[in-house]
Homo-oligomer: 450 residues x 2
């Protein structure tokens, strides 16, 4: 572990700067002071003027002063804030039984059967943990065990989690989080810069190059880990063939393809899983965030080919992993996603929203691209007149995000340069809310146009 | 990462052996088959004849066939299975708001204030995560950041968690989980073998020796990590001065003392925290298991001396860490522990239980020692007539654990040799239940005596 140079202070996109003199009311100022005392520097707030929340319902969050915010950012409450079905399921289970998996219980088995049935054949077993970070960490352990190798490939601005092993493959965490020698970085596909005629070959070539880098440092490739929507790279849903070719490439070199579905999974992109858009079958899929609508639960999905030898030889146990209460929440999430056909809704409404934003920003040459999949949308902002050649405009992104916050719409920004608006509402977003969101984003872009 | 030799199959104390022909009913046999198909080899069950559970209340767990089990094993439901106050708090919060900590919310701040007030001065900030493993992993990252060093010292049969970094300092996970070169092992204090006149010096000497080992492998010590009750070493509450001397020793060499309070914390040992018995102030304390009575929540407790530089320079964020629902559960746990004075209850009733077990086993020369703190008790079993010189009797421990299970009392076994009965009921254990437990354990020991 290398030591960061002390002069580096970590920067986070859309982060409140303590002591910046934000115009907060007395109640918020007092709460902020208490928070800084007891939670301290590791805890960061969103927005120039942080939002103080007391209640949520569906896609609406309520401030302490009664202000209603349209939540167009949070992917965890996928079936809506304070979802009554999740609440009832959790309450019933908390009154019945909550224990670990070293006793026989029905709930975890039934849910695992239902969950794995949503995956292609071969991905028919589940290991439960509590967070996406834990699941990524476990997937890395399984890959290392299966291959006997140590090399990992990720995209250049990837984020995969916060345990030490997950942070090591998360270059987006910045210069104080240097990636070690067994990790190699690949530029994500970039529809604005890649030549369409040869983009697929170019992406595969970058993987080959990264494998060569690893070898030159003494590491054979164990796995390629890809967020299927490349969220922290600036939301780059790859052209359809790119990732299946990538999976073939890593397998040809004896490594595994690990799909990080923590962000795209559970209907967000319009499919159940982000990897479906690429027609590939990952060796392992990692699930998290929306899985329990906010109750901590995550999973690694795989097959006996990998889980049997790992399980026989390595002792893995997660006390809270697969506990009946988190499982009850996760079961209610599947009920809601299925009964309300939310993946299809995300596809349809997200498509409308993308078209609408494209239409409303067509004349804005600072908008390089509106892109996304389902209800996960990005607006890339640049300074120059030429869209593809424009310099990243993080300043405008920050102004737009804070402008929207003042107009009671919550989004954030993303990407290596912080210049990509990230729009990611709960999937229960209604049509009139989508209209308000589109109008709000368009207005914020007009207000922040040079 | 080294590759385990393929011939090793992991052994776990008190583990059901699949296909061992346990006499299960048709319902359990069917559930077990489904479970093995969809959860597979990583999932292990307790007991020769696994227990199928459907309900829990207080210290009682109910089987699918209506059988009532006295739970004398589970430390997570510290204020009782299906605790109504925890349930009500979770339900109310789930109907109000559940979100991450990048908005201002009252709940996480209030709880952090209340929790840190239970610690000595200097330990006045909290970082929340979801599992003990995540919190240990984070504590290791903070220690590496603060010291710029990589060496870690742990006890020889320690267990600290299941992320890759936590597993690296968990030698109890067995031969397929080899500890890397930056980790050195220290024999835990052993009241049966240590010479009382010089045990404290001997323990400090072992730390010095381990530091020398680390240095010879190129690592300066970053931290000594100690489970304050040394549970997986076979429950070895150290004589009072040992660990404060250990803390002085590691600090003299520039390392941190990290108290792993995942098992002993929250009143289990009769104090709020296990380290209190030693009169020491750790640099970091790690909390987990009982914190939310089964809702996933954990924490690292420390001071601004460590958290400020780490927080400024390293980006750490845990999406579910400190979410209002887990915080509501944790708040209700503190309410219950305080209002019902459960730490004092654990001290008193645990003391009675220990005395009673000592009395009832006094004539049994296969019982080397009954020990423990509060409601965390151990009975060490040996084969030889001479207690201190006896060989570990794992076979008798397994027979006693399974005999108790058939008599509807749930405990387990522990220690490097699996010969230590581990008795660890929810802290709401009543007096008549304690009597039944003492009688049950004594009877199981009579029934398994050679």
């Amino acid at each position: 572990m290398s030591q960061p140079s002390p002069q580096h202070t970590m920067h986070m996109v859309n982060s409140y700067v303590p002591g910046s003199g934000a115009d907060l009311g007395p109640e918020e100022t007092a709460l902020l002071e208490r928070r800084e005392r007891v939670l301290g520097a590791p805890y960061r707030l969103f927005y120039q003027r942080p939002v103080h929340l007391v209640r949520g319902e569906g896609t609406v969050l309520y401030g302490a002063d009664g202000t209603e915010y349209l939540d167009a950012y949070n992917n965890v409450p996928v079936v809506g804030h304070s979802n009554p079905r999740v609440r009832a399921a959790v309450d019933a289970q908390l009154g019945r039984l909550n224990t670990h998996t070293r006793y026989l219980t029905e709930e975890v088995v039934s849910y695992a059967e239902r969950l794995t049935a949503l995956f292609p054949a071969g991905l028919d077993q589940a290991i439960f943990a509590c967070t996406g970070s834990e699941a990524i960490d476990l997937a890395l352990r399984i890959a290392a065990h299966a291959t006997g190798r140590s090399g990992i490939l990720v995209t250049r601005h990837a984020y995969h989690g916060t345990t030490r092993a997950a942070a090591e493959i998360s270059p987006s965490l910045g210069p104080n989080n240097p990636v070690p020698g067994n990790v190699a970085l690949i530029d994500a596909p970039d529809a604005l810069k890649d030549d369409p005629a040869d983009a697929q070959d170019a992406f595969a070539d970058r993987i080959e190059d990264a494998i060569e880098q690893l070898r030159s440092r003494g590491h054979e490739p164990a796995a390629l880990v890809v967020d299927s929507i490349m969220s922290s790279d600036g939301l780059r849903p790859a052209p359809s063939a790119h990732l299946s070719r990538a999976a073939e490439t890593i397998r040809a070199h004896g490594g595994l393809y690990i799909a990080d579905e923590v962000q795209p999974g559970f209907g967000r992109t319009g499919d159940w899983w982000g990897f479906e858009a690429y027609g590939l079958r990952p060796d392992l899929a990692v699930l998290g965030k929306p899985m329990g609508n906010g109750l901590p639960i995550s999973a690694v999905i795989g097959g006996p080919d990998l889980f049997e030898p790992f399980g026989r030889q390595v002792r893995y146990f997660n006390t809270f992993g697969g506990n009946p209460v988190s499982i009850a929440a996760a079961t209610a999430v599947l009920d809601e996603l299925e009964d309300r056909a939310l993946p299809a809704h995300a596809d349809r409404l997200g498509g409308w929203l993308r078209d609408e934003l494209q239409r409303q920003t067509a004349a804005d040459d600072g908008v390089a691209q509106v892109r996304g999949a389902g209800l996960f949308l990005a607006v890339e902002l640049v300074t120059a007149a030429s869209r593809s050649g424009g310099a990243p405009d993080a300043g405008r992104a920050a102004r737009a995000v804070n402008h929207l916050r003042e107009n009671r719409i919550l989004i954030s920004a993303s990407g290596a340069h912080g210049n990509v608006l990230k729009i990611r509402p709960p999937l229960v977003l209604g049509e009139s809310q989508a209209e308000r969101l589109a109008e709000g984003v368009a207005e914020a872009l007009r207000a922040t146009r040079r």
